[in-house]
Symmetry: C2
Subunit: 478 residues, 2 copies
């Protein structure tokens, strides 16, 4: 059996002529890595991996696949948490990888923009901006692999959303190859342009189901010249939220990040991660990590931090606090925050919930969900943390100490459903950052059903009538 | 002939029962004002004006009209500059007015949001926010009449876009009645929610062609506690842009507005508007009006203004400047800016161009367009001004002194085409703020044709297959 059995010969030949041998992978050993998702939840198959070198090649390849009714799975850095870039197991689809489209075309200091191809990794784009004294204000843990096309297709979030918005807000221009192979060119550097529908915003976050993003114009910021970072002990999530509001009232634009950590989660880090002791005199029920930043060179940011924290300490809103006095201290505070996932992993089996709720509902959410999970599984360690400033809590659940991990994980759906029911009641989202992919399609009818899902379906059908572009993602099987 | 001749009797009776006499206007004298646009460019006809009191009534009314294949023209404050809310002259359509949906449901201090019905005027919404110490950061000259539904349907901009974005960026939640009468409920207070397509962003700016916006959740800001305003004399648009960049480098979030005024336009204001003399020692080729603002209560904003202006004066980037020392002085500086349209009106006939270009292209645009217009009509007064910080220049053209206004206006298309060709070459937009409406549909094929217009058409057709929702807007006749 030839390696490319599933690819019709005329299509194979046309693609080979178009893309060359570097652009068409068909050997099993070559294509296999493209068929497994980052979390290894899915192991799909594909007929070939196409690696176009530019938009024109991509457009022609898509047109050819469309003519032959071959499903296409766009893939960037392959870091989806929800199987969003992994083909199904029929082996009929091709993966279209953006990894060869890695040019940075332009950094524009007048417009503060960067024009990049889809395959540039987020890290490479950040570095290129930094080299010119500018900031690409989006940061996620997979930034070394995740690429611009992928972060836009999934509307990535991260720590700095509270200040700069999600990926959608950063994309000033966009280019995409549509399911029929036509190129949608929205590469305009315009902050005001009311000439028809918001196609750019629609393509961003559509998870590759409406087209393949091939280029973008990303809005940059002047690099911050001052930064202030503090870890604060607080009584509960409500206090953390009140502290956030106190900073926001003074200057929302100074808040670069505002993170929440539960006492339970912090204790796991202090215990299980080397070099990450609690930098405060005693443990607290909860913590907030505050980072202020500004491109201003003056000392107004330090005053802002000290004024707000001073009042909060006086009022008892904050019970203890440590302010980073050097970049090394700043990094060690951030290390504590970033090691939460690793500490939970070391503590045994855990269940993750990537949810968001309105800010006002966060205390109720954490309180109710904690009680419900504790009632469900006695001894469970409820260890929430996350981006409280934009309502996004990683409501993670760690197995009871010494319990059997498998027995714990056997109840994962019960735990997720318990948390989800409370999120839903409070008007929240079952996927704050990660998207729907193939992992969460089953939740769409209940959470986004009725006119909302129907409208999405109609748009999908209008732009991709053969359902060839990333099939099986976002939409539950009919 | 009965007044409501064009409304089928069964539909009339059903609507009357649904909406009551206050919700169904059919007398010519009652409906006529809804059939003329704000600029009086169009005088349409309609069979009736429907004034639903809430979403439920609106949804049922739309479903009834859809069943009877009656076109529907959504209308807010009726302040469109492009005939976007005016019915055609067949008299077959109904106008659906949001003017009775005027409740402000909620101002949420934790989430900094306001939940409002579509018929609340922008001014009423601003006032309600201000009463609670908050800022609704969108301001346009028609805000006393324009309503929330209208500003979202048209993605309104204004002076503060440079800091807070257009209306689309302010809408955190949305509710709309779709063309079939189904209610699309996207009223979620979530900053992170990756669960399917960006329908909210798509509805915003769709100019009533995809549905009727009935409610929204608007993001608010803490009210600024300090403000600094300065009028600066500069050599040209390039210098104004360099000054903008100097402020932006220090703190983009402090820039509340950054306006450009040409020397020609300023001279008209100084000459023709009472109480608006030039507050500088001598006229300059161009001016920038800078407003900084911050919710911080300290004096860091004053230092920022003085530092940047001081350096700019030293470097010769700014040749003269006046800083407002009181609220009265601030208002008189803004009055000068706001009287530009009135001064141009008093100077005779004028032609308006609501265009935008990339920031880097502004100097070239103004230079080339000025020369081209002066070549076209000797003696023409080229009087551009506008929101230079977001690339949006009102490139207005005033008739030669003493010339015949009619003869001048007879050449309006030649002037507009001349300007448009340069905007197009520079990657700009033919409608920065006002939208397409019915006035500019003819420009769509050339400017947004190919895959872009085709994608818009497919979406329109998928969501409104009978083409009943605001027909004749955005899309040119097929």
């Amino acid at each position: 059996m030839p390696e490319n059995a599933a690819l019709p010969q005329p299509l194979h030949d046309a693609l080979l002529q178009l893309l060359g041998p570097a652009g068409l992978l068909t050997a099993t050993s070559d294509i296999d890595p493209f068929c497994i998702d980052w979390r290894a939840l899915y192991h799909g198959k594909c007929a070939a991996v196409l690696r176009p070198a530019n938009t024109e090649e991509c457009a022609k390849a898509v047109a050819l696949c469309n003519q032959h009714n071959v499903p296409m799975v766009p893939q960037g850095g392959n870091t989806s948490m929800v199987g969003g870039a992994t083909p199904d197991d029929t082996g009929k689809a091709v993966v279209i990888s953006t990894t060869r489209m890695t040019r940075i075309h332009d950094i524009d200091h007048a417009d503060l923009t960067m024009t990049v191809e889809a395959g540039v990794t987020l890290k490479a784009a950040q570095d290129a901006a930094a080299k010119e004294g500018l900031l690409l204000p989006l940061s996620i843990s997979s930034e070394g692999s995740a690429d611009i096309g992928g972060i836009l297709a999934t509307n990535a979030g991260g720590n700095n959303t509270v200040r700069y918005g999600n990926a959608r807000e950063l994309a000033l221009g966009l280019e995409a190859v549509m399911p029929d192979g036509n190129v949608l060119n929205l590469m305009r550097k315009l902050r005001k342009d009311n000439t028809g529908y918001a196609l750019r915003q629609l393509l961003v976050g559509s998870e590759g189901t409406l087209g393949i993003i091939t280029q973008a114009i990303i809005q940059l910021q002047p690099a911050p010249r001052s930064r202030e970072t503090a870890l604060c002990a607080v009584a509960d999530a409500k206090s953390a939220l009140d502290l956030f509001a106190a900073f926001r009232k003074q200057d929302p634009s100074a808040i670069q990040a505002f993170e929440f950590m539960s006492g339970t989660s912090m204790a796991l880090v202090n215990k299980l991660i080397e070099g990450a002791p609690l930098p405060l005199s005693e443990p607290a029920p909860a913590y907030a990590l505050v980072e202020l930043g500004s491109p201003r060179g003056d000392d107004s940011l330090r005053s802002l931090m000290e004024d707000v924290l001073g009042t909060a300490l006086e009022d008892g809103l904050v019970t203890d606090a440590v302010l980073a006095e050097s970049e090394a201290q700043r990094q060690s505070l951030w290390m504590i925050r970033e090691e939460h996932a690793e500490a939970q992993k070391r503590a045994g089996a855990s269940v993750k919930n990537d949810v968001s709720v309105p800010l006002a509902a966060i205390p109720t959410f954490i309180d109710e969900a904690t009680k419900a999970c504790e009632a469900l599984i006695p001894g469970i360690r409820v260890a929430p943390f996350g981006h409280i400033g934009d309502g996004n809590i990683h409501f993670n659940l760690v197995q009871p100490e010494g319990a059997d991990p498998k027995a714990f994980l056997a109840q994962d759906h019960a735990m997720m459903d318990t948390v989800a029911a409370i999120v839903r009641k409070l008007g929240g989202s079952f996927s704050a950052e990660h998207g729907v992919g193939q992992l969460k399609t089953y939740m769409m009818p209940e959470w986004r059903g009725g006119a909302e899902l129907e409208t999405m379906r109609r748009i999908k059908n209008a732009l991709d009538p053969k359902n060839l572009m990333n099939p099986g993602k976002i939409f539950p099987a009919a």
